[in-house]
């Protein structure tokens, strides 16, 4: 992937197995978000392949599909700069997530037959379930833009979950959260993994990354500079040099 001469992503490869949490870390501007954008079809990679094998299904290539088709295939994401539907209510935001799993069309909307009504009811119920899972149930009728930052991040996750994904891509979900909230997020992500979801995580909060990930990829200048378990990565001198910096305790004195 290149932008006018700048190579943002350079022969990067990564594997993610079902039920795994894989973290992607790297300095600012390394190309992590760009990688997400390629995965979700917003950018089209210049070269390379993206393959998805659903459990019990056959492998499918994702390159060239439109973003919405990729979502249908089972990839869902959140955004680094929150992109909710600010004037819609929290509940509606989640219901939008269910759009690609429901069918009612124009005629259904006009005549509102029993099938449509049932579908609509189920949509609401499912959305509410997702909201209570992410702790937003009380805010269901608030316009999304009125939510505090942390809640907006959780809403983005809820919305992504609503698309019923196989893989969840989280772009810095803990940014702007305080440690306490980050802990809650940690729990939420764990719970999702336990439900069988595969998660690809971009994050700069090392505590979160180290505690959650099964496997970590480190990239810099669009290239992979290291990979391995959290412990391995934390010790890797190249990673320390490019990203972590000299070890210095973050914990309160």
């Amino acid at each position: 992937m290149e932008f006018g001469g700048i190579r943002a992503l350079d022969a990067f490869d990564l594997q993610l197995r079902q039920g795994e949490i894989v973290a992607l870390i790297g300095p600012n501007g390394a190309g992590k978000t760009t990688f997400f954008n390629c995965l979700t079809g917003l950018y089209r990679p210049t070269r390379g392949e993206l393959l998805l094998t659903p459990p019990g299904g056959e492998t499918r290539g994702l390159v060239g599909l439109k973003p919405n088709e990729i979502t249908e295939q089972g990839l869902a994401r959140t955004f680094q700069n929150i992109r909710l539907f600010p004037r819609m209510t929290v509940l509606e935001n989640v219901m939008i997530g269910l759009h690609c799993r429901t069918r009612a069309g124009v005629l259904g909307a006009i005549f509102r037959g029993p099938a449509t009504r049932k579908e609509e009811k189920e949509t609401i119920a499912a959305s509410l379930r997702l909201l209570s899972k992410t702790g937003l149930a009380d805010l269901a009728d608030e316009p999304a833009r009125n939510l505090p930052y942390g809640a907006q991040r959780r809403l983005e996750i809820a919305r992504a979950l609503a698309t019923d994904p196989l893989v969840l891509l989280l772009d810095e979900p803990a940014a702007g959260m305080n440690p306490q909230e980050t802990l809650e997020l940690d729990e939420l992500i764990c719970r999702l993994r336990d439900e069988g979801l595969s998660i690809l995580l971009i994050e700069h909060d090392m505590k979160l990354v180290m505690s959650l990930s099964d496997h970590i990829f480190v990239m810099d200048y669009g290239r992979k500079i290291a990979e391995g378990s959290p412990v391995e990565v934390r010790r890797n001198p190249e990673v320390i040099k490019a990203y972590l910096g000299e070890e210095e305790s973050d914990a309160p004195a």
């Binding site: 079809g41 917003l42 919405n68 909710l84 509606e92 690609c100 124009v106 209570s132 269901a140 009728d141």
Partner: protein, 415 residues
């Protein structure tokens, strides 16, 4: 509540004086001088400037008072923690005891309207209803899906000409033409939509504007097809089970027909808005990229909105042709699109009741302002500006439907 404390200081008066001087300067070349360039003569009209000075002075004092009044009100409301910035019309509308009687009253009046008023009044009411329909149609495109369409009138023209031409060449009647016109307009909507819907915001606006002009120019220039600028005359009015209706009868009939269609439109638009597809439209208006990431097919969803909007314009076109019995391309200019757009925005993008109010206002107002003759359009322009300045969000702001009862906790549901 005590009357808010407003008073004029010397400073305010001075400012008003300056404003009035500014306007005197501004209007000087136009109002004080009247040229006759042919004879190279100039007529001086000094008294005009005095009128301008006095009027603007008083107006700016009034504006000052209004500002103070509003600020005073705002202030108090925060103290009492009352809702701020809400619009009285809207509050009235959402108050539980008001809505039903209001609706009932309105429908009663609508039902007996032709019996109470003259044919002429009924006739212009038909026009107003026609614009309600157009406004609601465009509302789907602009208000709900957020696609700025400045060429809506093209679909209106498609509808009108389908009826006129189908009737002329094949003798097809109104009732057959109505769905056909709608269908053709929808087809045109899709035709236009395919290439241009990936354009964003104002780029879309100019292309739709261009499309509207193209349709009009083709109608104007392609004589063999459309009879050119001299138009098509003697288009039959809608029949009523083969009965021959008098003028009055057919206007009354058309009125009820239009009323029915408007109700139908309201029904459909309302259902669409509160459906899966309506939500997708709203979301698309908010954030396209997020929409795609949520699995919404951008192109298809936009096309649906576009085509549905066009459908209504097509229907309205058929009725328009049947009502005027004569059409020519001059009825389908950009100004028409602009007026329909004004209806949508003034109504408060996305609000059905707002659109209805705005259509009635904007169509009936010029009609009743007619005695003002040349000042009519001046007043119309002023009203548009003033409405937007005082009600920037439109007459009635749309409310998002809520699905749960406020305050209820749902956490006890199975996770």
């Amino acid at each position: 509540m005590a009357a808010p404390n407003v008073r004029l200081t010397w400073g305010d008066t001075g400012r008003a004086l300056l404003t009035s001087l500014w306007f005197v300067f501004l209007t000087f070349p136009f109002l004080a001088v009247k040229i006759n360039p042919a004879e190279q003569t100039v007529l001086w009209r000094w008294p005009n400037l005095i009128h301008v000075a006095v009027t603007t002075f008083l107006l700016s004092l009034a504006a000052c008072l209004y500002r103070q009044y509003r600020e005073a009100r705002l202030d108090r409301k925060t103290e009492d923690d009352l809702p701020v910035g809400h619009n009285p019309l809207h509050l009235l509308w959402t108050r539980p005891g008001v809505r039903l009687p209001l609706l009932a009253g309105a429908s009663a009046i609508a039902l007996v309207f032709p019996l109470l008023f003259s044919t002429y009044q009924t006739n212009i009411m038909i026009t107003a209803l026609l614009y309600v329909m157009l406004g609601l149609g465009l509302n789907i495109v602009v208000g709900v899906a957020g696609l700025l369409d400045l060429g809506y009138v093209a679909f209106y023209a498609v509808g009108a000409y389908s009826y006129a031409l189908l009737n002329l060449h094949f003798g097809i009647g109104f009732w057959t033409a109505l769905p056909l016109g709608a269908l053709l307009a929808a087809l045109f909507g899709i035709l236009l939509g395919f290439p241009v819907l990936r354009l964003r915001g104002d780029y879309l606006a100019i292309v739709t504007l261009g499309f509207g002009e193209i349709i009009r120019l083709i109608l104007e220039n392609w004589n063999d097809f459309s009879h050119g600028p001299s138009g098509i005359a003697n288009i039959p009015r809608p029949g009523f089970f083969g009965l021959d209706l008098s003028l009055e009868g057919s206007i009354t009939y058309l009125y009820y027909l239009m009323l029915g269609l408007v109700l139908f439109t309201v029904f459909v638009v309302n259902r669409l808005q509160n459906s899966r597809i309506g939500r997708a439209w709203f979301a698309l208006r908010e954030d396209e990229i997020a929409c795609q990431a949520m699995g919404i097919d951008k192109t298809r969803t936009k096309l649906t909105a576009f085509a549905l909007g066009a459908t209504w314009a097509g229907m309205a076109g058929v009725i328009f042709a049947a009502k005027t019995t004569f059409i020519n391309p001059a009825s389908f200019t950009f100004l028409e699109s602009a007026i329909i757009l004004c209806i949508v925005v003034l109504g408060g993008m996305g609000s059905i009741i707002g659109v209805i109010l705005a259509a009635l206002l904007l169509i009936l107002l010029p009609e009743y302002l007619r005695p003002l003759a040349d000042y009519r359009m001046l007043a119309f322009g002023t009203v548009l500006v003033a409405m937007m300045v005082f009600r920037p969000r439109g007459l009635i702001s749309p409310v998002r439907r809520t699905y749960t009862v406020r305050g209820r906790t749902i956490s006890d549901e199975p996770a």
